[in-house]
């Protein structure tokens, strides 16, 4: 069965320092993986996605994630945090051979950015 685990429920960084949000997944087949971001009082927005092309995926706002099959990980990183990055981040996995409706969502990681 597919599953996704976000290893940290809350991450706090200082502005200008690197961000690392960790995600591990379990999937029987080649998965598609996504990161979504949810800013306070705003809708969910796609940050980036992996669909079996390049393993290093670049997204919006300077974020990127690397698909590591051997580690079943899809960690989200950013070299330098900005105050506007403070939000809730969700890692999502789907099996591209399965049904779209069974997207599996992580419980989210709340990112705080301190001045």
């Amino acid at each position: 069965a597919q599953s996704v685990t976000q290893l940290d429920s809350h991450v706090s960084v200082s502005e200008g320092t690197p961000v690392l949000l960790r995600c591990n997944y379990s999937s029987s087949y080649s998965p598609s993986l996504f990161w979504y971001v949810q800013h306070p009082n705003k809708g969910l927005q796609l940050l980036l996605k992996y669909t079996s092309a390049a393993t290093l995926v670049k997204g919006i706002n300077g974020f990127e994630a690397e698909f590591k099959k051997s580690e079943t990980s899809f960690h989200l990183t950013k070299p330098s945090a900005h105050m506007s990055d403070a939000a809730e981040y969700f890692c999502v996995v789907t099996d591209r051979t399965g049904n779209n409706r069974k997207l599996i969502w992580g419980l989210g990681t709340s990112l705080a950015v301190n001045p």
């Binding site: 969910l44 796609l46 669909t51 789907t94 051979t97 409706r101 419980l107």
Partner: protein
């Protein structure tokens, strides 16, 4: 409009009343999803519509919840005899049909915040 829209943005109701939540998906998106997000939690899948196929209702928490999609576009989620535990943000998303590379990205509406007193 280019995005998914939902109405109302906020709804306060009394326990036992019925509520209807509306979703307008992106034009051309044949797949439509409803999710529920409780405070501090991830997304809970409720129901999925795909074209003219029978909807997948496997996520609906009880028979008080129902949804329909008219004409393959607008969808309405109805909660009958609301309970306090129904209080949450209800999110709608749409996507291009079928799983497959690049097609399963879901685009979300802003949500309806439901409070049952």
């Amino acid at each position: 409009g280019a995005g998914v829209s939902q109405s109302p943005s906020n709804k306060v109701t009394e326990k036992g009343k019925d509520v209807e939540l509306r979703c307008d998906p992106i034009s051309g998106h044949t797949a439509l999803y409803w999710y529920r997000q409780s405070l501090g939690q991830g997304l809970e899948f409720l129901i999925y519509f795909q074209g003219n196929s029978a909807p997948d209702k496997s996520g609906l928490p009880s028979d008080r919840f129902s949804a329909e999609r008219t004409g393959g576009s607008v969808s309405t989620l109805t909660i009958q005899r609301t309970q306090q535990e129904d209080s949450a943000v209800y999110l709608c998303a749409s996507s291009l049909a079928s799983p497959g590379a690049g097609r399963e990205t879901q685009y979300f509406g802003p949500g309806t915040r439901l409070l049952v007193l």
